[in-house]
């Protein structure tokens, strides 16, 4: 049912989603913590910027990325190489695109925690870092898990940004959604069906997993 090229595409897509999810968590957890706890004046502006990809068409993000990562941009001068048409470029694009789906649930989880646990930790003389890792993170773990699953799934299904900056290189930037698009365009519907069906099953599993986590979290609270 799956030929070698399809397996390569599926593995590449899983790799992209996995790497992007790790990057998203490394950036997203501290960012969500700051958004939840900070009293800084400008934090809602940062929150809005993080959430922009929810409403921006992926083509807008792709267009800006193509220019920002192109040979004439300061960003390219800074990192010393152009990123379009590379796996690293897709990770950057997917991270920006999926950021709100990771940051927002984690921020909500941190906010739902309230001051009580935090004050209790302080009373027990836990340092801020100690309290963060041993109190805040475990309490927020359902939110973090939800964010991770959403980020992973969103990256798996990402199409517009990848289409704009990917260049459809097998094994490097040709991911599932692009492969499905090309199979449909070339009237190879049998192959399109196989990959599309796989995406459908995966999406179903992701949303089901999130529902289960939510239900468990609620029963833990009561």
């Amino acid at each position: 049912m799956f030929d070698a090229a399809m397996i390569e595409t599926i593995l590449l897509t899983l790799e992209l989603a996995a790497v992007t999810t790790v990057v998203l968590l490394v950036i997203g957890v501290p960012l969500a913590w700051w958004l939840a706890r900070s009293k800084a004046w400008g934090k809602e502006i940062v929150a809005v910027i993080v959430s922009l990809p929810i409403v921006l068409p992926p083509t807008v993000l792709g267009f800006y990325l193509l220019i920002a990562m192109g040979p004439h941009s300061p960003f390219t001068a800074l990192i010393g190489q152009t990123l379009p048409f590379t796996f690293a470029g897709l990770v950057v694009g997917s991270t920006l695109y999926s950021l709100p789906f990771v940051v927002n649930p984690i921020r909500n989880a941190f906010e739902a925690m309230g001051e009580r646990h935090w004050e209790a930790a302080a009373t027990l003389r836990a340092g801020p870092l100690d309290a963060f890792f041993n109190v805040a993170l475990p309490l927020a773990s359902p939110g973090i898990l939800t964010g991770a699953i959403l980020g992973f799934a969103h990256t798996m299904g990402e199409f517009g940004v990848v289409l704009m900056i990917g260049g459809s290189i097998p094994g490097e930037t040709k991911v599932l959604s692009i492969a499905i698009f090309e199979f449909v365009e070339t009237l190879e519907w049998g192959k399109a069906h196989v990959l599309a069906g796989a995406m459908l099953v995966l999406s179903f599993a992701v949303i089901l997993a999130m529902r289960l986590i939510e239900t468990r979290f609620k029963s833990d609270l009561s």
């Binding site: 193509l66 220019i67 990562m69 192109g70 040979p71 004439h72 152009t82 379009p84 048409f85 289409l163 260049g167 459809s168 290189i169 698009f181 090309e182 449909v184 365009e185 070339t186 009237l187």
Partner: protein, 256 residues
């Protein structure tokens, strides 16, 4: 009260008049699917056609493969200007096109192009440069200009070496954009896309290095009864259209 009603009716009349375009009373409207390489030509032809006939023409651009898929799925296009001969032929065979309306409206040219004015010196030698990061082409499966680019690299014997560095745009328009932004240092684009600008550097690929880029048009079943669609296809064969098409670097078949 009466005054208000009068004013209201005048308002209605103005709105009604404004929504009718000027021009002949019998003006019709047609939607035409056009291969991406022909974008600029189609826009100019559309303007000339509208001025000459009073009909309105709306274009939908994409790669030939993408447009053909949409036609198979019942897209409401009246005519199809493809970048190859194969898809219009298939449209006719599969009863999506009106038999006997197929004709070649242009023969395209391929060019290796760079936004950098010094990179290409009128020869393909840059393709042998190991340091060349990427070569942009149109998707060879859906876009005939992409397949012609593959032919060319094959003929030059550089394909196996370049294969890992090829980046594919979904249509020749996206390929052009990859090169124009400098993200791909060079790429194979349609001659019509760079004919007039004169920017960057280029090597015009000799026709014998790739399959002919004969571009056929066909009236689709959806447009069978559409006078504006038939008029547009007739207009394409006329002297005024041929002048516009040839001006963008296409060759036009002799029988026209």
């Amino acid at each position: 009260m009466a005054q208000a009603i009068t004013r209201f009716s005048i308002g209605l009349a103005v709105v009604a008049l404004a929504s009718f375009p000027a021009g002949p009373v019998h003006a019709g409207e047609t939607t035409v699917a056009v291969a991406a390489n022909f974008t600029l030509a189609a826009k100019r032809l559309g303007a000339a056609f509208e001025a000459a006939t009073g009909h309105r023409v709306v274009f939908s651009f994409g790669s030939t493969g993408q447009l053909f898929t949409q036609i198979v799925h019942g897209a409401p296009f009246d005519a199809f200007l493809a970048a190859d001969t194969e898809r219009p032929e298939r449209a006719e065979k599969e009863l999506l096109g009106v038999p006997g309306t197929r004709f070649t409206y242009a023969i395209g040219g391929l060019v290796l192009w760079s936004a950098d004015a010094d990179l290409i010196e009128g020869t393909p030698s840059v393709l042998s440069d190991k340091a060349l990061r990427h070569v942009a082409i149109a998707n060879p499966v859906t876009a005939p200009y992409g397949a012609a680019a593959i032919d060319t690299m094959n003929g030059l014997g550089v394909l196996p070496d370049l294969e890992p560095r090829l980046v594919a745009g979904k249509s020749i328009s996206q390929t052009y954009q990859f090169v124009a932004t400098g993200n791909a240092p060079v790429g194979f684009v349609a001659l019509s896309q760079v004919k007039e600008s004169g920017t960057g550097s280029r090597w015009v690929v000799p026709d014998d290095l790739h399959r002919p880029l004969r571009q056929d048009a066909i009236l689709l079943e959806h447009g069978r009864e559409n006078g504006a669609a038939r008029a547009f296809l007739e207009f394409l064969k006329g002297a005024e259209a041929v002048k516009i098409i040839a001006g963008l670097g296409y060759r036009v078949p002799d029988q026209n």
